[in-house]
Symmetry: C2
Subunit: 363 residues, 2 copies
């Protein structure tokens, strides 16, 4: 259930980090203060590292710029994109639960539910993560773990325990997350419908994961949440979250984990310029016609029992099956391997005991 | 979109029949008059055929009792259940589009949407049927063919045409469609949440199809909508709609058709007695633990290209794989074959030209 702002709770306060990629001052945090202030914020500064990013007072906030990324990861920093929101995944390398949002203060804000209460998106995402998913059979009343709902007649009892939820995918009111062609064709379309539902994406079904309002359990699925090589020096942008979503989905289908989509909503107030984003995403529009059948047909070996093993196996398949589409996928497959090396570098028990990874402490 | 009662439309007026199984007078039709009066009603009278069923004046209504069923189908009438709402599928043997609902006037009524408009369930079901389904990839804003919604970023363009929709599965406010154990445990639980969404059940995912508020395109999927052997003389009841749903789902996955669930809602006002229904459904509660893995693993041969071919193939698999669970499934597999024979009997071009199937014209 979403929490009205007058009764703010801070679930998982000591286990959850908020990860925000940014190129600008974070004044927008002001409007989220009641919901975000109890948490640790990880800011990944994109672009020029000499620029000073201002964060409003009173937030527990750590900032990493490109120099920090290079210092922490050394040569493995090549897997972290530059000048693209994909750089956020550097922040995924630490913590237990992650909530990540975009940084543009003009672009999104706190939404209201139909009773005009402000929606605590973080609390609802956490609730989605802390209740099981049901990927093996569809429940027509949607999330059976929500108060006042259960499994309907005909739902096998042996499946009612569900599986752990690895990802919570929240949605957006007002500006929908459309690609450039759709934005060009429907410049005035707005999402005004508050759909009061959370549901599990069924096993075997791919979905378009958007990074705007996203939470996940890093211990369950973190190594699969790599946002790829996008932006500066790459032939493609705006597919960072999609790529992570497709990789993660085939892996948690294999490992019997779940993803939920639906509530909570955030308010998305400013559309991108479709002419600008068309340039970033047009190759993806072609490539996804091959990428989707590839992911639909991926079968991971039974002996892959950890996310890391699955991801390395997937990187091989990406190079083998997608490099005929474009040589970029060879480079991406290599970066996937580097990402896992970076993950292991920062998450080995020795590393954790010896030298905590530090950015610049703000405030 | 649901239609307010003040602007009632009657889509597919000459192609859609409303099928209602009943054992009692149909006074409840009075409250649905603005929505149903333009349509042809097929009443399947369950139980004692000598009982006179009263229908309110002004409806275009045809009634079939058990004697009619026996007369029309001869020995093939053995596939039509007696003393169970499964008898409704006799009414499916004619017409183009079908909307079917339960008959209990105390049990369900016209629901209202959040703006207090009465919901024209028939019109919304027809709208669901007349727009495509999207079973191959999940759209996070739900039905992209609804006004004001489209496919989101990352949705492959080659899949945006969708596939024909064979089934529209509407939902219920107030009393949820729970099995006996859940009703016993949660006697006071009510569904109060109006979820303003229609969505496609993805390919490869089974769902619990409820017959309370259901429409389908008979020409696309009719022969798969057999409600099985239930009720009088059978070891099981209350699984008629579930059985039809599971059979239909594997067949339209094979034939690249779609099913939508969600809107419209009807109001379900009276719960069944859980002690009575426990007796009817308890074997199903065991059996579904084997039935679901069976349907999840069914692969139909590529050369099955019609619903009839698929259904006959499925009947063989039911006998082979489920009869070890209980000999009932042998009998059910035979009845599935008889059902297809009955279908072909009443739907051959010669039959249609020669002798229309007539029940008793009411009103």
């Amino acid at each position: 259930m979403t929490q009205p702002s007058s009764h703010v709770t801070a679930p998982l306060k000591d286990e959850l980090d908020i990860v925000i990629p940014t190129i600008r001052n974070l004044d927008f945090l002001e409007q989220w203060r009641p919901f975000f202030q109890p948490y640790h914020l990880i800011i990944v500064q994109d672009g020029d590292p000499s620029k000073n990013i201002l964060v409003p007072d009173g937030f527990d906030c750590e900032l990493y710029n490109r120099n920090d990324v290079n210092r922490v990861l050394g040569p493995k920093s090549s897997c972290i994109s530059f000048k693209d929101s994909a750089c956020r995944c550097f922040g995924f390398l630490v913590s237990k639960y992650i909530f990540t949002i975009d940084d543009d203060c003009f672009n999104w804000k706190v939404a209201e539910d139909p009773s005009r209460e402000e929606i605590n998106a973080l609390a609802q995402n956490v609730q989605n993560l802390l209740t099981p998913s049901t990927p093996f059979f569809f429940n027509t009343l949607y999330d059976p773990f929500r108060e006042g709902v259960d499994f309907v007649r005909g739902y096998p009892f042996s499946l009612r325990g569900g599986v752990p939820t690895a990802i919570s995918h929240g949605l957006w009111l007002n500006i929908p997350d459309y690609d450039a062609p759709t934005q060009l064709v429907k410049p005035l379309e707005r999402n005004t419908r508050y759909v009061d539902a959370v549901l599990t994406i069924p096993k075997g079904t791919l979905f378009p994961m958007c990074g705007m309002n996203l939470a996940f359990d890093r211990e369950l699925i973190g190594p699969a949440m790599y946002f790829g090589l996008m932006g500066d020096g790459q032939p493609i942008g705006r597919y960072d979250d999609m790529w992570a979503g497709w990789c993660a989905k085939v892996i948690y289908d294999h490992l019997r984990l779940g993803v939920k989509t639906g509530l909570p909503y955030i308010w998305h107030s400013k559309a991108s310029n479709p002419f600008v984003i068309l340039k970033k995403e047009y190759k993806g529009i072609y490539w996804q016609e091959d990428i989707i059948p590839f992911f639909q047909s991926v079968v991971l070996p039974k002996d892959c029992t950890t996310v890391q093993q699955c991801y390395l196996e997937l990187s091989k398949l990406v190079k083998e099956k997608l490099s005929p589409v474009d040589p970029y996928f060879n480079k991406l497959g290599d970066a996937m391997v580097t990402w896992i090396e970076a993950w292991d570098l920062l998450n080995s028990p020795a590393q954790e005991a010896a030298a905590p990874v530090d950015g610049v402490k703000k405030n």
